[in-house]
Every structure is written in C-alpha cells, then in structure tokens.
Amino acid sequence: MKKYLLIATVFLAGLISLPAFAISDVQKSSITDNCSTIKENLEKIQKSDARARVYLGSYYEVILTKFITPLNVRLVENNLSTADLVENQNEFADAKSVFTNDYISYQQHLEDLVTIDCKSEPEAFYDKLIKVRQKRKIMEQDVLKLRTLISQHIKLVDGIKGKL
C-alpha cells in the first residue's frame, strides 16, 4: 500500500512540476531568434489595447451615465419602471467595472511578459504568453457581454413604446 502511495506521490509531483503547455524545439528556437521582433509586436499590442480600452470605456461610460441611468430615473417618475430595465442597468454597471478590472489584470500580465528575457528564457516566456492569451480571452468575453447587455436594453426600451 505504501509503495503505491509513494508511486502516486512521485507521479503527481512530476505532473505539477511540468510546464502547463509543452513548447516544441522549433518554437523555442523561434522565440530565441526572433526575440526582439516578438517584443516589438507585444509593445504595439500594448499600445493598441490601451487605445481600445479608452475608446470602448468612454462609450460604455456615456451609455451608462447619459442614457441608461437617466432613462430609468424618468421611468420611475412616470411609473413605467420595470424590474428588467433596473436589472439590466445593474448588470451593465457591474460588467463595466469588471471590464476595467480585467483590463488592469490583463495589462499587468502583458507587462510581465514583455519584461521576461525571451532570448534566455523562452520556456518561461511561452508559459506566460499562454496566461496572457487566457486574460485576453476574458477581455473579449467582457466586450461581448457589454454589447449583449446594450442590445438587451434597446429591446426593453423598445417594448416601453407600447405602454405609452
């Protein structure tokens, strides 16, 4: 019994110590050879992402503060408020702050990636790149969620017309 337990422990320890994603020799040498080009590309991505965040973030802010919130206040005043619209407003506000927080986390990981010396540490670099990709995927989902909530809001507002 002890023997099996020992084997299982060794096996698990081996699994944990393995990198999350194996990197091929070709990828490794490609990272080492093109290190400076890869870093330049990453820096460009950093800048274009900052632009995307400001662009989208300002539109989300306008939509929340100049459209959704004042409309809901007026609907309450006119006794036309619906639970769906209030819920949509809360969800949108939450999703907007999640978008900002996820962006900070994504940029922190991206910055860590840029600081790794890909010439001498291609494996660590690729491992981090995988994590940054996951963070970027979350950002993409956040943008989609906010867009879905806006569409939902438009649909709900359109439905109010019938009550007037």
Binding site: I31, I45, R51, L56, I154
Partner: protein, 119 residues
Amino acid sequence: MEEVDRPEKKPSGARNLVVLGILASVIAILTTSISLMIYHNSGDIYLDRSRPGFLPDEEEIEEGGDKEEEYLFEKTGKLEIKDIEEYLEKLNSEVKAIDSYEKPFSADVLSDEHLGISD
C-alpha cells in the same frame, strides 16, 4: 598661564543649507517613489494614456473630439413616444461607434503566427 577665551563655535549657515537641501531631496525622492508605487500597484497606470508612449495619436483626438457628448437624456418630465424614439436614435449612434471598432481584444493578435513564433 592665562586662559585664552575661545569664541563659541557657531553652526555654519552654509553647512545647514546643504543639510536642508539633502533632506528635502531625500523626502522628495521618497514621497515620489511611494506615489509611483501606489500608481503602479493600484493599476491606474494601465488606465492612464497620458503616460509616455501611450499618448493618443493626432487623428484619434480629431476623431473622438466631436462625439455626441452634449446629449443627455432628461431625468424629469412626462415621457412620450417621441422621447423614446429620440433616445433610441441617439443610443443607436453610440452603438454604431462601438461596433465600428474592429475585433477589440481578439485572440488572433497574440497567436504564434502573428507574433512571429513558428510552430
């Protein structure tokens, strides 16, 4: 033997000035470092496009300058169909602007191929 009255040694003004200068510089460096640390750790640095290398391009400033910033839906008053129609019209123009941004945060930008890593 006669005792000679030595004049009392007064602190030198120049030396005090140097000490004050050094102290002021140390305090300034310390407080600036703390501020930068907070700025970085809070994540505000990533949201700030006024940092070096992240300033908006000229065409960007022109593009964003005339956005529908003046429109604000009135919080008070009787609600009529025309108000809702105007609201939806203005909102749709904002949505159009959001949709015009092509593939924000798309995954392919960080692909091996795009970054220059061959498989």
